[in-house]
Amino acid sequence: MGAWIAKNRTTVIVSVAVIVAAYAFYYLKNDIAPSMYVSAWGYAIPLVLAALVGVIGERSGVVNIGIEGQMLVAAFAGFFAAAYSGSLLVGVLAGIGSGLILGGFLAWTTVKWRMDQIIAGVVLNIIATGITSFYYQPGQLLPGLMPKFDIWPLSKIPLIGEVFFSGTSIFATLAILAAIGVHVALFHTRWGLRTRAVGEYPSAADTAGINVERLRLINVTLAGTLAGCAGVYLSMDASSSFERGMVAGRGFLALAIMIMGAWRPLRALAMAIFFGFINAVASQLQAGGSIDIPPQLTGTLPFVVTIVVLAIAAGRVRAPGAVGQPYVKGDQ
């Protein structure tokens, strides 16, 4: 423990400082702070899920800029499957399934066909926009609401319980569990070691007897399910409708979150919440009306803050070494 703290001094200091500040604000501005935290977390949920898709893909050596498209199709498929079948479960499964299929598409084209990963992602996004717009149907309704619940006893913790564990939903809970799960899996399991090796230095993995192509195929495909969850969350949980273009750039923001999180799941979780919080601050500035800043300018706050924070603090985070490159064995 002591050694871990020594090794991660900056992380520990930053985390403690952030947590202290968060509680201070919570107790000092009790009229608005809780709602801002809730809003921040609500904003962060799809970003976390989507950023994890990016993390898994890039840790395996595959850039996924098609997350936006994966989410869009999943939101579409989930919503309409639920509407037509009359079952939320069917919708959720359809959404996750569509994420899986698109993950498979990205995996197959980039790994098997060695298509440029950026191009594959761009293609995926265009197709997703086209299809969901083309086959959009107005006037459909979800058969019901996604369940909300409290996670006792965590929900009793001041602030944290209120924000993360009460009145929460499956996907909100999943976002936390997935971030922890992917972190543990990536850094503490056999799969994770192999995945990181494949993403950093595939020929080292290959010569160690690891099937690089297969691992990449599996990872990128399965990560699609998380993109599916993010999409389903948007159309079935955070709102109850599907609209064209409703992902509204969240897939790309997730990539930014992934990079800000230095390709680490828990850090990405922290960054998504941070980003969500700045968003809440931005709309609070607008709503508060005390200072008269045009909403267009307050709206840019999260983006300005992100850039400034990165410029001051970030320094050089390093992408997985082999990201973007198809693995070609010696003789091909």
Partner: protein, 384 residues
């Protein structure tokens, strides 16, 4: 067979030796290769497959594919003024394509074309209006202003990348939002046209006639500028020492440093170039199409630029046919809906399929039973 360089090999970012010194081989001329080389055939086959898939899609809508394609071609090229409109649409696409190509050569992925363009359009429109009294000179000022504004946005991303190591993908995404917000604020506030203040319409003053960029004999001047810049970019990249520096940084940063190249400056410069080109695209849209700034001026030009750069495999000259293809499809789409009722999104699907087909490296293998074709490596720059 695999010994001869293919289009892809030549165009891959960065290209081997940027053409040039060849005594025994032809220099990299994508158009020539397109016509004479194996990859040219691969591209044609890819296009044909894409059109067939598109045909199936259109058929499924209950419309004759033949009629649909004919309509697009007719609307985009044959009807009165169609060609002019197509070229008008192509011009900014060439530029936003180049705005992605140049940083890509240095190993940077500029997805900020949209923001750079919007910013360029805003300031281009404003300066052209303010300097409208100068006539032609005013138009020129507008274009320079647009370029500078776009370049400024690009420069921010470039400098942060070079000096602070902030990933350009983050900054360019963020700057897209910031540019949209700032221009929106300007156009509803300080720079809003006097006449629009009561109605609240977000638009700037109209650029006076004399300072607009029109067309000569049906050829938009903007298109000529875009063509000239595409050729200039190609020349710069393949023939000049500056191009050599850009390519070298993209090919091997360490070697570039060793060779005495100031990497940071080149990285920032490439983004300045990219931003400037996108900004110019915006200024041209303002001066040539809408004659003022409106927030919707950018359309999807910035993001189309990515598609075009990838279609062109990071080759400046190839952005011309790639942009023309997009221009034709987009110009023909409304006419297609008018004639057949097919929603214009079909064109995006078509474009996606074309990009997919053209970019499948194994397609060449399937056709020629030869080694897999190498495709421009956009994503190999991602990790840097």
């Amino acid at each position: 067979m695999s010994e001869t360089p293919t289009v892809a090999d030549q165009a891959a970012a960065p290209p081997p030796s940027s053409g040039g010194t060849s005594g025994d081989k032809k220099p990299a001329q994508p158009l020539a290769y397109l016509l004479t080389h194996q990859s040219g055939v691969v591209i044609l086959v890819a296009l044909a497959i894409a059109l067939l898939v598109g045909a199936a899609l259109i058929r499924y809508q209950g419309v004759s594919p033949w009629y649909a394609y004919e309509t697009i071609i007719r609307e985009a090229l044959l009807v009165d003024g169609g060609l002019t409109r197509t070229l008008q649409k192509t011009a900014p696409l060439v530029l936003t394509g180049l705005a992605v190509v140049i940083p890509l050569r240095v190993g940077l992925f500029n997805i900020g074309g949209q923001g750079q363009l919007i910013f360029g359009a805003m300031f281009g429109a404003w300066v052209a209006y303010a300097a409208g009294g100068l006539g032609f000179l005013g138009a020129l000022c507008g274009m320079v202003a647009g370029m500078v504004a776009g370049a400024f946005i690009g420069w921010i991303a470039g400098v942060l990348k070079a000096t602070r190591g902030v990933h350009e993908v983050i900054t360019t995404i963020m700057l897209n939002y910031i540019a949209a917000g700032v221009t929106w604020w300007l156009v509803t506030g300080p720079l809003q046209a006097e006449g629009s203040k009561t109605s609240g319409i977000p638009q700037t003053e109209l650029i006076p006639d004399a300072a607009r960029v029109g067309a000569v004999a049906g050829i938009p001047i903007g298109f000529v500028i875009a063509l000239a810049l595409a050729i200039a970019c190609w020349w710069m990249l393949s023939r000049t020492t500056l191009g050599f520096k850009l390519n070298t940084v993209g090919a091997n940063k360490h070697a570039a440093r060793y060779a005495g190249i100031n990497i940071n400056r080149i990285i920032a410069l490439s983004m300045v170039f990219g931003g400037g080109l996108a900004g110019l695209a915006g200024a041209l849209e303002a001066a040539g199409t809408l004659h003022r700034f409106e927030p919707a001026i950018g359309g999807t030009l910035g993001f189309d630029g990515i598609t075009i750069a990838l279609l062109a495999r990071a080759n400046p000259l190839a952005t011309i046919p790639a942009a023309l293809l997009v221009g034709i499809l987009r110009t023909g789409a409304p006419g297609l809906q008018f004639a057949t009722g097919i929603a214009p999104e079909v064109v995006d699907l078509l474009l996606a399929i074309i990009l997919l087909m053209v970019s499948i490296p194994v397609l060449g293998k399937w056709i020629f039973r030869s080694r897999a074709d190498k495709v421009a490596a956009a994503s190999t720059s991602w990790g840097n």
